[in-house]
Symmetry: C2
Subunit: 398 residues, 2 copies
C-alpha cells in the first residue's frame, strides 16, 4: 500500500512551520519558556462582541449552513467592503469560505486545470505551495529581493515567466512572509499584465489593515471594473479580528463562473461552520477603535523587531511595510537546522525563541536556506527579549 501514500507525502511536504511543533512541545514540557515568533497567531484579543455572540447562541439544532455561507455572514462582509468604499460589491460576488486557506484552494481550483501554471512572487506564503500541490498546479516563482524590500521586479522580468500554460498571477499584499506593501504603480502593473496576457489576478489581502506606509492600501477591489472577469480577492477574518481558530474567509469576484466553480467546491464540503459564521457576522459591530489600535500596536512591534534585528551582526533585514512578518537572512548555513537547534539545545535562563525556517516560502528551497520568517505577534518587551535571545544564540551557534 505504502508506495502510493509515500508518493503523496513527497508530493505534499509537511509544512516547514508546523513540522517543528513537536520539538517546541517537547521543550515546553521540559519547562522551557519559548518566545513564539514562528506562527502568525496573534496574541491580541478577539473583539468582545464576537465572544458575546457565542455566549448568546440560542439556535438548536446546530444545522447546516448554505454552502456559500449564511445570509447573515455574507451581509456583514458586504457591509464591510462597502465601508471601505467598494460599493459595487454585491451579494452575488461574495462567497463565504472556511478561512483564507479554503479561498486559496477555491481560487486555484476555479482558475487552473491540472498542469496549468500560476505566477507567484518568491518568497511567497507557503500555503500557496501546498494548495498548488493539491490541484497539480505548477507555481512559477518570480524572484524578489531582500535588498529592495521584496518589491516587484520590472514588468519585462515578470512577463518572461508567462507561458501558454499560465492562467493566473497570485500575490499577497501586504505580503506574507515579506511584509511588503505594493505601491499603486506595482498593483497597476500587475493589472496591466493580467489584461495584456489574459490572466486571472488573485490578490490575497488578509493583512489589508496592517500597513505602516503613508499611502492607502492598494486593493484589487479598486480594479473590479477594470478587469471584472479576472480580478479575484482572497480574504480572511483570522488576522483582522484575531479569529484564527474560527474558520472565516471569503472569495470575491465579479466573474460569475469563478463564483460558480468555487461554489461547486464549497458544495463538496456541504457547509462551513455555522457557529463561526455567526461570530464572524458580528464584524459590523466591532468598535471603530479596534483596528486603529491594532495598527499602532503592530507598528510599535515592527519597529522594535526591525531595529533589534538590524543590530545583530550578520543578520540582514529590510524594513517591513505591513502585515506582521519579517524575512531575515541569518549568518548560518542552514536556517532550519539553526531553528531546530534553538528548540533542542539553546537555552538562556531556560528560555529560547522559535522561528519559521525560510525555505518553505521558496519554490526552490535552496534559495531560502539562510532565511527565517519572524512573526511579531508578541508584545514589545517579549520581542525585545526575543531579539536578545536570537543574538546570543547566533553568537553561540557560530
Amino acid at each position: 500500500m505504502s508506495p502510493l501514500v509515500a508518493h503523496r507525502l513527497q508530493h505534499l511536504p509537511i509544512s516547514s512551520i508546523r513540522k517543528l511543533i513537536p520539538l517546541s512541545d517537547k521543550a515546553e514540557q521540559d519547562g522551557v519558556k519559548i518566545y513564539h515568533l514562528n506562527m502568525g497567531q496573534p496574541d491580541v484579543k478577539t473583539p468582545q462582541v464576537m465572544i458575546d455572540a457565542l455566549k448568546a447562541w440560542d439556535t438548536n439544532p446546530i444545522a447546516y449552513a448554505p454552502s456559500g455561507g449564511t445570509k447573515e455572514y455574507i451581509d456583514a462582509l458586504k457591509q464591510y467592503y462597502h465601508s471601505l468604499g467598494f460599493n459595487t460589491i454585491e451579494t452575488k460576488d461574495i462567497l463565504g469560505t472556511v478561512a483564507g486557506s479554503e479561498a486559496i484552494n477555491m481560487a486555484m481550483y476555479a482558475t487552473c486545470d491540472v498542469g496549468d501554471e500560476m505566477l507567484v512572487f518568491e518568497p511567497f506564503y507557503s500555503t500557496y505551495k501546498t494548495s498548488a500541490k493539491l490541484w497539480n498546479v505548477n507555481l512559477v516563482a518570480v524572484p524578489t529581493m531582500l535588498e529592495n524590500g521584496f518589491h516587484l521586479p520590472p514588468k519585462e522580468e515578470i512577463i518572461r515567466s508567462i507561458t501558454p500554460k499560465t492562467k493566473a498571477i497570485l500575490y499577497s499584499n501586504p505580503g506574507n512572509p515579506t511584509g511588503t506593501v505594493y505601491t499603486k504603480e506595482e498593483v497597476k502593473m500587475l493589472v496591466t499584465i493580467a489584461k495584456e496576457h489574459n490572466l486571472y489576478l488573485i490578490s490575497d489581502e488578509v493583512y489589508r489593515e496592517y500597513s505602516f506606509v503613508d499611502k492607502p492600501h492598494e486593493s484589487i477591489l479598486q480594479y473590479l471594473q477594470d478587469i471584472p472577469e479576472q480580478a479575484i480577492l482572497i480574504d480572511s477574518l483570522s488576522k483582522r479580528y484575531n479569529l484564527c481558530g474560527a474558520r472565516l474567509g471569503a472569495l470575491i469576484s465579479k466573474n460569475a463562473d469563478v463564483i460558480k466553480g468555487s461554489l461547486a467546491f464549497a458544495m463538496s464540503r456541504l457547509s462551513g461552520g455555522i457557529i463561526d459564521m455567526h461570530v464572524g457576522a458580528q464584524l459590523t459591530k466591532v468598535p471603530a477603535g479596534y483596528i486603529p489600535a491594532l495598527q499602532q500596536e503592530y507598528k510599535r512591534r515592527r519597529d522594535t523587531l526591525y531595529e533589534g534585528l538590524k543590530e545583530i551582526e550578520g543578520v540582514i533585514v529590510a524594513q517591513p511595510e505591513g502585515a506582521f512578518y519579517i524575512m531575515a537572512q541569518l549568518p548560518v548555513e542552514d536556517a532550519e537546522q539553526f531553528c531546530i537547534w534553538l528548540l533542542e539545545k539553546f537555552r538562556d535562563n531556560n528560555e529560547t525563541v522559535m522561528l519559521a525556517p525560510g525555505y518553505g516560502f521558496y519554490a526552490d528551497p535552496e534559495k531560502g536556506k539562510q532565511m527565517v520568517r519572524l512573526a511579531y505577534v508578541l508584545e514589545v518587551p517579549q520581542l525585545k527579549r526575543s531579539v536578545e535571545l536570537l543574538k546570543k544564540a547566533l553568537q553561540q551557534y557560530r
Copy 2:
C-alpha cells in the same frame, strides 16, 4: 477566461440536492409550507451539554487549533470508540476533520492518485462523486438493486470491476441513500476482497447508531487487526449529535502513512474550527439516553414513511434497515422534473413536499432517473402529511 471554468463546472456538477434550494426558497417566500424530506438535516435537538459549552466559552483570542484537531477533541473521540469496545484505537490513529465530507476528501487523497479507480456500490452518497471529481479519481460503480434492499451482489460480481488501477473500495454502512445495513457476511466479504486484491477498504459509518435490525452493527473497526494497513473509517458527529452545522468529523486508520497523507491535506487548511471542536469534545458528557431515544424515534419515522410509501400506487420501495433515508422508485419518467414541479406548481392547502432527485446518487444518472431519496428527518405527523402530499401530487402529475 470562461472556457476553463466551464470545464470545471462540467467536471464538478452542482449538487443535485442543493440545486433545487433556490426553488424552495422562492416557494417559501410565497408563503408555501414545504415538508423538507430533501436533506439529511435532522430536526432533533443538539445535546444541551454541547450548547452549554458554547455559552461557557472563555478563551480569547480564538486561536488556531493543531491541524489534526485539538487534544480535547481527539481524546473525546478516543473515549467514544473505546466505549463501543474498540479499545485498540490510539490517539495516533485518529485525525480530527472538518466533518465527514473532509474525511472523505482526505481518504481519497491519501489513497488514490490522479486516474486511479475506487469501487462504490450504486446508488451511493452523492458527495463521493464530487469528492472523486476534485481529485480526478474515477468511481467505478457496482450496481445494487432495490429488489433486494440494495444489499451487495455476489463476490464474483464485485471482483469483476477491479482493475490494476483500483486502489480502494468505499462504502457507507448504514447506507446513504439506501438505508441498507450490511450483514456480518457482507462486511467480511469486503474485507476478504480487500485482502485478496490489496485494496484500501474505506467505511463511512456516520449513521452507525441508526440501525433498526436485530444484529449489532458490523463496523470496519472490528477488522483493524485483520487489515491494519487497509482499513479506513470515515466518521462524523453531524448526525449522531445533530451537529450538521458544526463541522466535526474524523478519519481513523492504523496505517501511519494514511494518517500522514491526510494530515498533509489538513495542513493545507492549517486548522479546523476550534470552537466546533470544543463543542464536539462534550460528546463524552451526552446523557446515555440520548442515542437510544433517537433510535426509537427514527424507527417510528422509518415505519411511518415506509408503510405510507408502500401504499402509493406505482411507488416501489424496500424497507430501509438504518440511517434515515429511503430510496424510492416513482411512477414518473423524470424524477427531477417531478421534484421541480412539486416546488413550482403543486400545492395542496398551500403545502408541498421536497424530495432529492435520485440521479445524483448514481454514476450513470440515467439509471437513477425514476428514483428519489426521502430523508425522514421530520416528526411522524409531518411524515404522514408528506406521504399524503406525495400521493396527491403523483395522482395529479400523471
